[in-house]
Structures are given as C-alpha cells and as structure tokens.
C-alpha cells in the first residue's frame, strides 16, 4: 500500500502517487517564493470537521486589524466559509474541491492569483476538514497549524500521529466548554508532548476570545 498518503492505493499506483506529490512539491515551492516576495506569513490550518477552524480565522481576521488578513478556504462543497470570513473583514477566496479531501499547492496558487494582497501581512489557508488526507500535501506555507477541539477527545494525537507530527503549532480550541465535556487537559497535553514535541501549544476559545492574544503575539514573532 502507498505509504505517502491515505488514499488506499495498491502498490502499482504508488509511483503515480509519487509523481503527483512531486508535482505538488514543485507548485508548493513556487507558492513559497511568491508568499515570501509578498512579505506574507502563511499558515496551513488543519483540523477535523467542526473543530472551529473558521471561527478561529474569523477572530484572527477581526483582531489583526488594521492590516487585512487573507484567507484561502477549501471545502468539498459550499462557499459558506468564505462568506463568513468576508463578513469578519477577511479577504477570502473559496476553493470547492468536489470530492477531494485536501487542498493541493496548484489550487492554492490559482486562488492566490485572485487575492489582493497589498498591505496584507497574514495569509491563512483553511484546509478541508480532515485529519488524514492533507498531511502529505505541502501548500507552500511557512507554518502548519493543527487545531484540536476539547470535544474531540484527548487521544486524537495518538490516533492521527502523522498529522500531529507535521505541526509547527497545535491550538486547542473550545476551552470555554472543557469542563462541560469532561476534557482531560493533562492527558491531552501528555499525548501532544509524546507525539508532537516540536509543536508550540496554545489553548484558546475562538468563541470567547480567550487565549487569542498569546497566539497572535506568537504569529507576530514568526513574521520577523
């Protein structure tokens, strides 16, 4: 079976998959050069469906002002998220992936063509909600942010180790309802420390705004 992604391809398709990833890597490098030339800090934001990616991005768009925040957002269907993000002040471009469970670098490059990035400091790429498929696809980002909500259980880093190992920063979201859902914070932090010791950890509530200052402060330092 293919060891480079999650698609369940038998061995004979592995070479084709390698070619696909090599093509993606080339497009990702081109994106990275364009992002650097534009002076942008670019994050690839990944999580399960419903962890609060869009809510977090709305808050960041709101609080990063006066500089506009750019968002490229991927979903299989609908442009609900781009509409929400524009209402929060972001410059947002929606990618509809159809039946594809992750974004690819070439899609992101085409979406970036549509984005007015003058004056922009921060570009957030909201990937398709999925803890497996996006892992192998570099989009040209500088940092990979994995979002984990307290409602999902403390063992998600153990169950989806490849994605968490690839994270530069892990944000634990919905801490305002941690007690209501019986979240075991110590266990979650221990699991993250075991699987993703490289990752910076933040604990926030995108709804109440708790913890966002520290995250934004950290973002600011990554730009320098």
């Amino acid at each position: 079976m293919c060891s480079h992604c999650s698609c369940g391809q038998p061995t004979r398709t592995v070479q084709l998959r390698h070619n696909l990833l090599a093509t993606n890597d080339t497009a990702a490098e081109r994106n990275r050069e364009r992002f650097a030339a534009a002076g942008l800090l670019v994050l690839n934001v990944l999580s399960a469906p419903g962890s609060g990616k869009t809510a977090l991005l709305e808050q960041l768009a709101h609080q990063w002002r006066p500089a506009p925040v750019g968002v490229i957002v991927g979903d299989l269907a609908t442009d609900n998220d781009a509409i929400r993000l524009r209402a929060a002040g972001a410059r947002a471009v929606q990618i509809q992936t159809g039946d594809l469970c992750h974004l690819e670098a070439a899609m992101v490059g085409r979406a970036f063509d549509q984005l007015e990035h003058q004056g922009m400091e921060l570009l957030l790429i909201e990937n398709v909600g999925n803890l497996v498929c996006p892992t192998a696809f570099d989009l040209g980002e500088q940092l990979r942010l994995v979002l984990l909500s307290v409602t999902e259980g403390e063992d998600k880093p153990l169950k989806y180790p490849a994605l968490f190992k690839s994270a530069d920063v892990v944000v634990i979201n919905k801490v305002d309802i941690a007690a209501a859902v019986g979240f075991d914070r110590a266990a979650a932090l221990a699991n993250l420390a075991g699987v993703a010791p490289q990752a910076q950890i933040f604990e926030v509530s995108a709804r109440s705004g708790v913890g966002l200052d520290a995250l934004m402060h950290w973002f600011s330092h990554q730009r320098q």
Copy 2:
C-alpha cells in the same frame, strides 16, 4: 480527477481505482452473505473524528444486553477504542489502518473471522473518523449510520453531501451540550432534510443516554 473517491488521483489512475472498488464490492458482497447467514444486523458507523462514535457504541453495547454486541473498529493507530468497547461489554476487534483513511471490506472480513458471533444480534463497524474517504467503500453492512455532533456546526451535511446522501440513519449526538455550543437545531434539521431526505434522524446524547431508547427500538425493527 477520480470521481469515485477523495484521494486526489489524476485521471490515469482512475481505472486502477475502479478495479480497487470492484474488488472491494466483491468482498463486501461476501461479507453481506456471511452476516446474513449469522443473523446479524450490521451497521457501518461513520463520522468526523471526535463526534462520539465510540461513546455511542459503548452505550449500545451496554444497553443491548443480554445479547452481546460485536464491534469491529478502525483507527489509523492505537487500540484504545477496542479496549474501551471491551470494558463496556462488547466483543471488539481492532483494525489498525496505518495511513489509510477508511476501512475496506476485506479488512472487515478478516476481522470478522476473529469475532465469536454466537448469540450475537448486532455488529457495529466503527469506521475511521473521516467524512470523505469511507464514502465509496461498501463493507457489506445493511445500514449506514452517520453521526454528527452538535459541536461540529449545522452545515456539515452541506459541506460533505456525498457521505450524508449515503446514510440510512443520521444520529445527532451530544444534544446535552447543544445550548452550551449554540447549536441551531432547526438549521441542522433543514440541512439534513435537503441533503439526506432518505435518512431516519435521531437526536441523542451518548454521554447522558438521552434518546438511545428510540434508536435501539428502531434497530430492533430493522432486524425483523
């Protein structure tokens, strides 16, 4: 791009993918015959990571007594869920899929070999937490149950239409915290009615037990 799954394969791999799905369908039919011969009601349980699949299955295992409930559970890594389910009285077999984001029928067939199904009425297959990849893979189940938690947002049926369209039953979980997370029940039900009008809807809390009687009553009728 491949129109049969979510794996992002370019066109030239589509034929190989078709072959993979045809092989899976053959194995699924064999599973279905074996399940019918054993007099089992078999459900394929699908959801995003953290929607509460394992918690729901624990409750069903507990409440279906005295008949034992069988569970075949898939995760990329760990056997945490099988351990939890055995503690709840289920006969559980864990499948570790490595980097594969869905179960396939042949894996389920091999796991079923390991399951003592004497006296069993109900077999639950807990798929990998993913709203995309498992959609195209028939496991030989009679019914497909999609779980949606109130913490995930009301628009998930719109964003992942293929999976919801394939559901026989949709269970809305974590209704005990619906108010705390600001869940818009009417919007969720309207979205489900639009995307998945064929699906029977239940609203439960796997934690508190609310709504499980109605779900189990419905299961009993499906066995007849």
